[in-house]
Symmetry: C2
Subunit: 500 residues, 2 copies
């Protein structure tokens, strides 16, 4: 969920300076129209890591837009008066009226995450708070509000750097409260519980936007663009169809940099290394699957990837390690008649392995946010709500002890072309290349965007995506096996720790 | 929530026999069309009190409709295979395909309520299960399913009677498992937790229907009609707008009997008794408000009722008992400009009393499901979702220690007419009667239906409605004061118990 916000997004000053004037003008215009229509209020929730530029961004928005119609609210310690009322009262009384923008610092999310980090309660009570937030937001949206949820993110290293800089800077030192410092130590917890909260509350009617906070240009421009897009969407959406306001296409990254760009596509293995490592990892997997701790678990491996990225070959190497009774490979193609007569996730639920077993999905439930999205096989509303449905689904799997491993096998444009051409020449491989493959290739940018969104929204602590550099098939196969092994070992280690 | 299902609904055999043939035919027809369209699946959840006719109703539906397209599923103890999979897997694999009807006995609700009754967990974990059910149902509905949720109800006395009959009847005795018998003892718990579940999961896209189970004719006819209405609605709703399927008007009671009919409108107090009791109750309220346990609480009293039912007079008697600094009366009329610029509940949130204080709402948030519904001031979708929003709202109040008391002051048609006429004659009361009042009077049946639905859907354990027989003003005033006093005393007693 946070991976895309740790890859060093930047916008150079020149681009920034060139783009800002038009953006400001458009934002102002949208703001005035919003005020004139007076049909919707805008609620902007500011959350995330300390030092990731939350305050700076809010200041900037006030600069860029007309501050008369922006109300910035900071919710810190509760006042006496607030303590004498139900907890949510403090937010109600600060709601911006229709036509205005309310920026909420330290809102319900900060409260629930901090409480969990400080061990005031455990997950069930956190989940109650999460559910309360969902109900509140759903009601606000049904009443015409538009909610933007920004999570400003920094990697641990970046946060430490940032906190150090701030400390050394006498001008800024007042900003670092003891609590903030403490957060540096509790970064891991904060991110873990934050992820649980984001995963469950990123809903189609009020999705989260995770923004990398390192580079001020990138940060500001991204927030500005998201806001503009959302405002413009809201202005043209009739009042009744409130649910659809946030259903614009997900915004692409401001700097066009995606996790996929961060892959080192030159990674490769020599034949000898490959042979040795493959055997080692296969033996390891075979041992793990026979480990008696496996009785409490099951394993699900999802294979997605570019066409000709080598999914089949990788799956073969995984299966090669195992007794055929232990695993089951499920190839996902167009749904059958039976499957069409059921809710989307049904065909995957029926293939979920029992305890001790392993199911390999050759393509998967992610089809909805990949091919169905790109090819228009389902409505925008369908694929937009699919992200949270999939997160719910995977949470149910992992709650039941199932280890979920998800692979995106990535090759570059050039490699794909070479493989396509090669396939056409080799008789026994000719069936593997069709008109569809050539057609899909033309939609490379759309698929790329869909993959980025998918990883951003569904790579979770409980079921992370592993991006596999697959230009070299040997490298890819070993990485896949190793990742599965590590995931199983981590699950077993957790069991051992619990038993102690 | 269950009050309306404890008032002895009955349908005589003659009416029943006259109506059933047409109902059966219409149900069959709808079923065939459903099957032909094959666009939606119907999921019927059967829950409620033991002995309330759950099994009989399902048997009947199978009789009435074509059993080839109905799949009845009983979820009892989990099988070995089910235990080896995530908990929800058992429901997924039994989902009816589109075009068919699945009847789920012993579904996710029975499981979560039984677990709570048997103290396997506390409220936060129950709430997690509730939230899981909501997400599952929302997803199913978004995918085109139509969900009917029936709660078959019996009062405690009726259940005991019923269990006795069943015990004596050798033919039926196999049905009463030890667990069922235990339920007779744990009736109160079952109803309490059941109510929490119903309150939170009765959503516009999948509302609960509470059915009194005593009279088989009533029970069968009500379920049949609800089902028919829902099916017909589903058949004519285009596939995309899935959320709207359940948004038909709420069904009126099959036998036209409502809680309002159960009131003894002849109840009255002699002048002397009134004077004495009024003073006693006023003194009691005054004492309670000054009790130091009041510091942990606040009090909210909601007054709704027929026009000229005497709300003003009753409120005056309540206020008369108190120091003006302790209470605040909020008359609710048409919303102001400021209020229109906010979500519906905002105007009420701002008037919520701080700890130790008391707010009287002269009309209230129930306007949305009364006047706004009847007069069409809001959309059907708005008032239909308002029930669960209001329940959420009141839960937030009571969670914060606020005691919520709600009064419906009921007078009969004749009494209202007399009071209207009298008002027109008395000069200083003439301002109290307007054209609007006469107009509203013509909508008596619509208001009556709205009141019944309101009480059915929002009378909860945490914030119950009190129906006040108000033909006699003295009786009404004393009953109001006494109810407030009892609610405060109950809250204090709970505190005392906790402290021990």
């Amino acid at each position: 969920m946070f991976e895309s916000a740790e890859i060093g997004h930047t916008i150079d000053d020149e681009t920034y300076d060139a783009e800002v004037p038009a953006l400001r003008e458009a934002l102002l215009e949208a703001q005035y129209e919003l005020h004139e229509q007076a049909k919707r209020q805008i609620i902007i929730l500011i959350n995330g890591i300390e030092g990731a530029g939350k305050g700076e961004t809010v200041k900037l928005l006030n600069d860029w837009m007309d501050p008369r119609y922006i109300e910035v609210r900071t919710f810190d310690q509760q006042t006496d008066e607030e303590l004498a009322h139900p907890p949510v009262w403090r937010y109600w009384r600060q709601l911006p009226p229709k036509g205005r923008i309310g920026v909420f610092f330290g809102n319900w999310y900060s409260q629930m995450i901090q409480g969990r980090v400080h061990k005031q309660y455990k997950d069930p009570v956190l989940d109650q708070a999460i559910n309360g937030a969902e109900r509140l937001e759903k009601m606000l949206v049904d009443e015409g509000a538009v909610i933007f949820k920004f999570w400003f993110h920094l990697s641990k290293q970046q946060m430490k750097l940032r906190l150090k800089t701030l400390k050394d800077d006498a001008l800024h030192s007042w900003r670092i409260s003891p609590l903030d410092w403490q957060q540096s130590k509790t970064y891991d917890k904060f991110v873990r519980f934050g992820e649980r909260v984001l995963r469950r509350t990123s809903r189609d009617y009020a999705p989260w936007h995770v923004i990398e906070g390192v580079d001020p240009n990138y940060r500001s421009l991204t927030v500005g663009r998201l806001l503009l897009e959302g405002l413009q969407n809201a202005l043209k959406t009739p009042e009744g169809s409130t649910n659809l306001v946030n259903l614009g296409p997900l915004p692409s990254n401001t700097d066009e940099l995606s996790l996929l760009d961060n892959l080192d596509m030159t990674l490769a293995l020599e034949k000898d290394d490959y042979d040795e490592q493959l055997i080692t990892e296969q033996a390891r997997l075979s041992g793990l699957m026979r480990d008696k701790r496996m009785r409490r678990h099951a394993l699900v491996a999802v294979f997605e990837g570019n066409d000709a990225a080598g999914k089949g070959g990788a799956i073969k190497r995984v299966a090669g390690a195992l007794d055929p009774r232990q695993y089951h490979i499920v190839p996902i193609a167009a749904p059958s008649q039976d499957e069409l007569a059921q809710p989307y996730l049904w065909r995957f639920w029926r293939q979920i392995p029992a305890r001790g077993k392993f199911t390999v999905f050759d393509r998967s439930w992610y089809g909805r946010v990949l091919v169905e999205r790109v090819e228009g096989y389902c409505s925008e509303a369908d694929w937009l709500r699919a992200y949270s449905e999939i997160n719910d689904f995977e949470e149910q799997l992992t709650d039941a002890g199932i280890v979920v491993v998800k692979f995106w096998l990535a090759i570059d444009d050039k490699t794909q072309l070479e493989r396509f051409q090669a396939r056409e020449k080799i008789p026994f491989k000719r069936h593997k290349i069709t008109e569809d493959d050539w057609r899909n290739r033309k939609k490379w940018p759309q698929y790329r965007e869909a993959v980025s969104d998918m990883v951003d929204r569904t790579s979770t602590e409980i079921a992370p995506w592993t991006l596999v550099e697959a230009n070299d098939k040997r490298w890819a196969r070993v990485k896949v096996l190793r990742t599965i092994n590590e995931a199983l070992e981590a699950a077993f280690a957790k069991d051992d720790k619990k038993r102690k």
